[in-house]
Every structure is written in structure tokens, then in C-alpha cells.
């Protein structure tokens, strides 16, 4: 079942750690099993991702009710944990193209980062990312466009970019 790989990657993205990701995928499969009669046979991956999103909302609500005040916070919780202070080691690593991208990705607003994570890193289609984020496809496209543009602009101002891209 190749969809399991995708489910695992997306679960890792939206929970932020492997243990919770395992639990979320297990929860998703059990929910899908119980709801199989409601499945119309079309777009199985999008269906599973929608179930996963709802399962994650319930899990977050149980653990941290206050996070549910802002729907966008649900998936942003994880994304906001990666802006560490620079260390000498990370400064050295920054001198690569990939590190520059990573730094830019960490610096952009979480809504843009989530869309980029789901589409570029997890490999979801626009429709699938929209199902996970519970937003219209146009919103996914807009967030992707704006997020990538920020990364792009960041790179062109990065003194290491010319060297890394040559």
C-alpha cells in the first residue's frame, strides 16, 4: 500500500515527531476502517488525508484545548519550533545552498511553510494539501507562491547564493 509512505510523511510534518506520527497514522487507519462505507472510491489519498487532518485536530484538542482557538494554529505548532539560534557549527553548514534554503524556510510565516512542506517535501498535490489544511485549493496555491517568493528573495540577498548556485 504505497499510500502508507505518504501518510507517514504527512503525519510527521503535522505532528512534529515520529512517535506522534505513528499514533496519528494508526488512528487514521482505524478511523478509515470504521468509515469505509462512506468512501465513494474516488481519490483515496485525499480521503485518508482528510481523515488524518480531523484525527489530528481531535488529538490536539484533547492535549491542548487552548490551541484550538485559532484553526491555523493546529498545524503551525510544529512549524514554529525550528528557529534555533545560530551556532558556529550551523554557521558553517549555512554555507551551502541547501542550508540557505533551510534557513529561509524556517524564517517564512508558518502558513506558507506548511503549504511548502506538504507540496514540496511531502509530495502532495494541491488538492491533497488543501484537504490536509482544510482550505481552498486557491489558498494553497497562493501560500505556495508567496512562500517560495520569500525564499527566492532571501536567496538572492544571500552572499553565499552566487557561489552555491554557480
Amino acid at each position: 500500500m504505497p499510500e502508507l509512505d505518504v501518510l507517514m510523511r504527512v503525519a510527521r510534518s503535522i505532528t512534529g515527531n515520529p512517535t506522534d506520527a505513528d499514533d496519528l497514522v494508526q488512528d487514521t487507519l482505524l478511523r478509515a476502517y470504521r468509515a469505509i462505507d462512506k468512501f465513494d472510491g474516488r481519490y483515496p489519498r485525499a480521503w485518508l488525508l482528510t481523515i488524518m487532518r480531523n484525527a489530528q485536530i481531535n488529538r490536539v484538542r484533547r492535549k491542548r484545548p487552548e490551541l484550538m482557538r485559532d484553526p491555523d494554529t493546529t498545524l503551525a505548532v510544529v512549524a514554529n519550533t525550528d528557529s534555533d539560534a545560530k551556532t558556529p557549527e550551523s554557521a558553517v553548514l549555512d554555507q551551502t545552498f541547501d542550508a540557505a534554503i533551510e534557513r529561509s524556510l524556517a524564517a517564512i510565516p508558518s502558513q506558507f511553510r506548511e503549504a511548502i512542506h506538504l507540496v514540496d517535501i511531502d509530495g502532495l498535490s494541491y488538492n491533497e494539501a488543501a484537504a490536509v489544511l482544510d482550505v481552498p485549493v486557491g489558498t494553497v496555491m497562493s501560500r505556495l507562491h508567496r512562500g517560495r517568493k520569500l525564499i527566492r528573495n532571501d536567496l538572492t540577498m544571500d552572499p553565499e547564493f552566487e557561489r552555491a548556485s554557480s
Partner: protein
């Protein structure tokens, strides 16, 4: 190409390409539009460089993908197989 065909068969403008470039790179653009974008990117240096830049960003982001551990995949595959063959395992929530 004569004057009229240059007007009426003109390809996309830079602005039009910029509007659909992300969809093109994500392979989400309608198939009928793809050749027009491709034609413009080959002919327009600025848009071609822009596309190359975004392609490199996408490729770099793909390197961030973390594969789930083999243990995790084994557990989840076992659960999926069990659900498919004998239903919800005892003890599972």
C-alpha cells in the same frame, strides 16, 4: 514568420507565465497550457532563469524529506494488513 502571424500566434507574455509558473513547476498546470509555457521559457532568458531558480529551490526542499523508520513502517503495514484481513485488532482504540 510574417507580421500577422507574429501578432496572432504570439505566445504567452512574461506576466502570463509568471502567473502560472508555480503550477507548471508543480505539474499542476493544464496540459494544453504546458507547451506555451515551455515555449516561452526557452525563448525568454529572464523567465527561463526564474524557472531554473524555482526548480532548484524545489529540488533542495525535496532533500528535506525524512523517510519514516523501518520499524514504524512495519508496524503500520501490519495494522493495515490486519484491518484488511480480520478487522480491528484487539486492544486497538
Amino acid at each position: 514568420m510574417n507580421f500577422l502571424s507574429r501578432i496572432f500566434k504570439r505566445g504567452m507574455t512574461c506576466e502570463q507565465v509568471a502567473d502560472v509558473l508555480q503550477q507548471y513547476l508543480d505539474e499542476e498546470l493544464e496540459a494544453s497550457e504546458v507547451p506555451k509555457v515551455l515555449q516561452h521559457l526557452e525563448a525568454c532568458r529572464d523567465c527561463g532563469l526564474e524557472a531554473t531558480m524555482y526548480t532548484r529551490i524545489k529540488e533542495s526542499l525535496q532533500n528535506h524529506q525524512e523517510s519514516p523508520s523501518e520499524d514504524s513502517m512495519t508496524r503500520i503495514r501490519s495494522l493495515a494488513e490486519e484491518l484488511a484481513t480480520s478487522g480491528i485488532p484487539e486492544g486497538a482504540e
